[in-house]
Symmetry: C2
Subunit: 265 residues, 2 copies
């Protein structure tokens, strides 16, 4: 089984609220379809919230502690965010179905729970059943109830980790808008150093402690989730899904530039 995450930044236009990048979406859907046509693969797709989910989550400060008196507003914020990411998911599924991919959405908000922003409950039987019947389950960055904070946001990156930990996939791939992990943002720093591989949480500590870390938005979060998987013996790879054919090639086990996160050796 393969778990493939597609970053929200690739699927949505960053500079506009709630606008899908239809060209990227269609290209990625078609690359996945080509690979599945080559040979059958069990696949789960995770996608981010992109410019759909972030604005309401930020506006209502979902995930921050709040007073009881703020609950009505927070509830509406939760609902707005849920509906916004559902809208993105609906566009993504539409494009994927148009390419012939049998994608079934299983939103985190309908069955998962968190404690202090970490998923602590989420029965994955539905995923297994849909996979058994040849479907492609799709899950995405979403809002869920939280035992400590009442409500919180669960990122697509945390979802990969949770799914991988519980479903033991053969391959975990994160399609982002950069080639992998750099010590600085490669888009703004010409001297950014690229990492082919990360091996443990210790590497991350050294990396953070000794360099002026300026990784791209959310990259540290991604690495932490993936290093946790590496510690469980599950290897993952960060690739650039904006480069044409990268998604196809990685699914076909062909060589693609990227950062492998594994336990070492």
């Amino acid at each position: 089984m393969i778990i493939l995450k597609i970053g929200g930044s690739i699927l949505t236009n960053k500079d506009a609220v709630s606008e899908v990048d239809t060209k990227s979406l269609k290209r990625i859907a078609s690359e996945i379809k080509s690979s599945l046509d080559n040979s059958f693969k069990e696949l789960i797709i995770v996608h981010g919230a992109g410019s759909f989910g972030h604005p309401p989550a930020k506006k209502y400060k979902i995930g921050e502690r709040f007073d009881e008196s703020e609950y009505p507003q927070k509830r509406i914020g939760f609902c707005e965010t849920q509906n916004a990411v559902k809208k993105l998911n609906m566009y993504i599924c539409e494009a994927f179905i148009d390419e012939g991919l049998p994608v079934v959405a299983i939103p985190a908000s309908s069955f998962m729970r968190a404690t202090n922003k970490r998923i602590t409950e989420g029965n994955l039987d539905s995923f297994k059943r849909y996979l058994d019947k040849g479907f492609i389950p799709v899950i995405y960055g979403d809002v869920v109830l939280d035992e400590e904070l009442e409500i919180c946001v669960i990122s697509g990156d945390q979802l990969i980790q949770y799914l991988a930990k519980n479903l033991n996939p053969d391959m975990v791939v994160l399609g982002t808008d950069v080639d992998g992990v750099y010590n600085k943002n490669p888009k703004t720093h010409d001297d950014a150093i690229f990492f082919d591989k990360f091996s443990s949480l210790d590497d991350l500590d050294t990396f953070e402690g000794t360099t002026n870390v300026d990784v791209t938005g959310g990259m540290v979060g991604k690495i932490k989730e993936l290093l946790y998987l590496a510690d469980l013996g599950i290897e993952s790879k960060i690739i650039n899904a904006e480069v044409e054919n990268n998604v196809f090639k990685v699914l076909e086990n062909e060589k693609v530039k990227g950062t492998v996160i594994s336990r070492g050796n």
Copy 2:
């Protein structure tokens, strides 16, 4: 707790595929909000698939037996239907949130399973948790995996029955586009007789056996689901949600023309 179903026929334009009736939607949302503002009520909303879900479900004959060779097409049909009803749900939630209703969608396809078109599995803990936190859970006519038929459609009416059976609500209301149950379609027959009350499955048998039954589309199905509830001691009421203020009044326990389905006495 109140379970309120709003028929797909009220929320969508019957003569157009995938078109929301925004005026009805806004009016009903505002009636619900007025009632909740009057006094707190625990509420679950169920909505139909309307002109969004029916065309793909019909096109792909979801729920009919099929050969293994047809599976790829059936899968795509399942996904198209799921995405179409998700789209309707997204519009409905948007309108409800705009009115200040904290609606959280919990799609049947993400956690329910059926056997021969009847729900045989569906843990409702998420519903209880969202209700406890002051949210309004929303579920809708959807597609699910079926142990016998591989895939099937679950109607909003069956969902009401399943929810009511398991959550023991104080009130079950079906908002439709007619005043209640008639022996003939009141829209096409001036001599249609109105039923204030239905008491048991026996009544239905008599009703079906002795008259030329021409009830409006799906009404027999609705009655069967509700009589099953009546046999469990759960009363329900079919009202016309197209009549202004009917939804508000029924939530306020005011008198509204309709058909009560109950065990009798």
